[in-house]
């Protein structure tokens, strides 16, 4: 039904106050309040057993401890400053660690010595990733900033000169090292120096020599273009072009793989087992697994020495330290 405002005289119309009085009369019935009370009781009980949030406890503590309000922002600022200091200090520490890595500490797989003229990480050679690979610093490169998915257009240039970026093939550390000394690192290519952004992603604490991949955005962020570098060098220097063409990467590859002892599958003899002592490496993965691998390699070499075998009771590797127990 529609009210016709014109149908009633003006004197019969209500005032705004009278209409608002109607609003006061809008009240629920008793059944509503009964349901309301039941629901209210349930929620109240649930609220009683619900643990208070952490900030509530903190606020209560501050109130009870009569901490002046001015101290709260001061304390928060101090915490923030401490956090930023530690965080920035950590980044500098990482860079310092990388810069301090000397060639003498470089680890290369057995049977493969670094080639002469090998590029160091900061000498501005091939590019960030290849410099790391060439000097054998693969054990100091984090999983994320390491090498190579071949979707990158920048890496397509490599496909003609090496197997490093072949059809999405992912190389393990030993394979990369095998390619490195005899292959790419001998190429006197030009390129950008190792960028600071790449440096900052190197983390010795999470280093490992295992399977890795290099994503295109990392290379592009660092400002490296491998394919373009090689193409430009090959176009300007015929000697380089010749040397690239003369390198048989497949042969180097096979040679390197063959030279590596297959430690993971080779059974341990009792002498090796005694030196390896009681640590169970089963199920260990990532960086820890690599340490176990190094330890086995050391045992493999040293157990041939009868005198040493008789005196040593245990061999351990932790980080870059080798420990012997006699």
């Amino acid at each position: 039904m529609r009210i016709n405002p014109e149908s009633s005289a003006s004197k019969d119309k209500p005032s705004l106050d009278q209409l608002l009085a109607l609003k006061r009369a809008e009240r629920p019935d008793a059944a509503f309040w009964q349901a309301f009370d039941e629901r209210m009781r349930q929620r109240q009980l649930a609220a009683m057993i619900e643990p208070a949030p952490w900030w509530y406890g903190a606020a209560l503590f501050l109130r009870r401890a009569s901490v002046r309000k001015v101290f709260v922002p001061v304390a928060a600022s101090a915490c923030l400053a401490l956090f930023l200091t530690l965080r920035l200090g950590n980044v500098d520490l990482k860079n310092a660690k990388l810069a301090g890595v000397s060639p003498s500490r470089v680890v290369t797989p057995a049977g493969l010595e670094p080639a002469a003229g090998t590029q160091t990480g900061s000498s501005g050679s091939f590019d960030g990733s290849s410099a790391k690979l060439a000097t054998g610093k693969w054990d100091r490169i984090t999983r994320t900033d390491m090498a190579a998915t071949t979707d990158s257009p920048n890496l397509k240039g490599l496909s003609g000169t090496s197997d490093l970026a072949e059809d999405g093939k992912i190389l393990n550390a030993n394979q990369v090292a095998a390619v490195g000394p005899g292959g790419l690192t001998n190429v006197p290519v030009k390129g950008a120096a190792l960028g600071s952004e790449t440096l900052s992603t190197v983390d010795s604490s999470s280093s490992f020599p295992a399977t890795f991949s290099l994503t295109a955005p990392i290379l592009e962020t660092a400002g490296f273009s491998v394919g373009e570098s090689i193409a430009s060098i090959a176009g300007t220097d015929s000697a380089v072009e010749d040397s690239l063409g003369s390198v048989n990467f497949d042969a180097v590859w096979e040679e390197g793989i063959a030279a590596l002892p297959n430690l993971e599958t080779a059974p341990l003899n009792p002498r090796q087992a005694r030196l390896l002592a009681t640590v169970d490496d089963a199920g260990v993965t990532g960086p820890t697994k690599s340490l176990a691998h190094v330890r086995e390699r050391v045992v493999h070499r040293l157990e041939a020495n009868e005198e040493f075998y008789a005196s040593a009771s245990r061999v351990g590797v932790s980080g870059d330290r080798l420990s012997l127990r006699f």
């Binding site: 009210i3 209500p14 109607l22 109240q44």
Partner: protein
């Protein structure tokens, strides 16, 4: 009503509020001392007023019920922090108003109205008898429903803050000072908002109001 009558009425209300505040303070002390059941007395005392406030702010009876429960649960959880600097009545109204404002701001686009029936007590019945002429008195329920709908529409057109002031003053009958304390504004701001809100409602309901 003369000025002296108005003053005496205001004084009586103030005295009543003071007694009420003292009774509330005693109950709050008992709850803080561990007598949790005493909080039920406070709930029972204020639930209809809080629900009414929230209902007129949201125009939805179910939302108002949920918000009322939230209000009392928050008050119960924070009762130990209540230090008696204001009355319990003001404190719980502030919790309710803030909860309603948060709810309305979060649900600007998702609004459903559900209205309560008008309980026809003496004052409303006489008002309706006065309002209804012969043409509509035969269907007073429909007439009342339409008036209610128009009024609620006019209320919902107001901003949240103006609606709050109108509800607290015109429907809950609080003083300007109490509203200022609840909303955290000055008395002048309350008066200004009230005046502006009533102007808007007058304009919106012009066809239905006495000129």
């Amino acid at each position: 009503m003369t000025a002296s009558q108005t003053l005496s009425s205001a004084g009586a209300i103030a005295a009543e509020r003071r007694l009420e505040a003292e009774a509330d303070a005693y109950l709050v002390q008992r709850v803080q001392a561990g007598e949790v059941d005493r909080f039920d007395d406070l709930t029972l005392k204020y639930r209809e007023r809080i629900w009414s406030l929230l209902y007129h702010m949201t125009s939805n009876r179910e939302d108002a019920a949920d918000l009322t429960q939230d209000t009392f649960i928050k008050a119960f959880q924070s009762i130990n922090r209540f230090q008696g600097q204001s009355s319990f009545f003001t404190w719980i109204y502030r919790i309710a108003v803030n909860g309603a404002i948060n709810y309305l701001q979060k649900n600007k686009l998702r609004r459903f109205f559900s209205f309560e029936k008008v309980q026809e007590d003496g004052s409303v019945t006489s008002l309706l008898d006065q309002l209804a002429d012969s043409s509509v008195s035969s269907d007073r329920a429909a007439y009342l429903s339409e008036l209610q709908q128009k009024l609620n529409e006019a209320m919902q057109k107001l901003s949240i803050r103006h609606r709050t002031v109108v509800t607290l003053f015109e429907i809950d009958g609080l003083s300007h000072e109490e509203i200022a304390e609840i909303t955290g504004t000055s008395v002048g701001t309350v008066r200004s908002r009230l005046h502006y809100a009533k102007q808007l409602m007058q304009a919106d309901l012009a066809d239905y109001l006495k000129t």
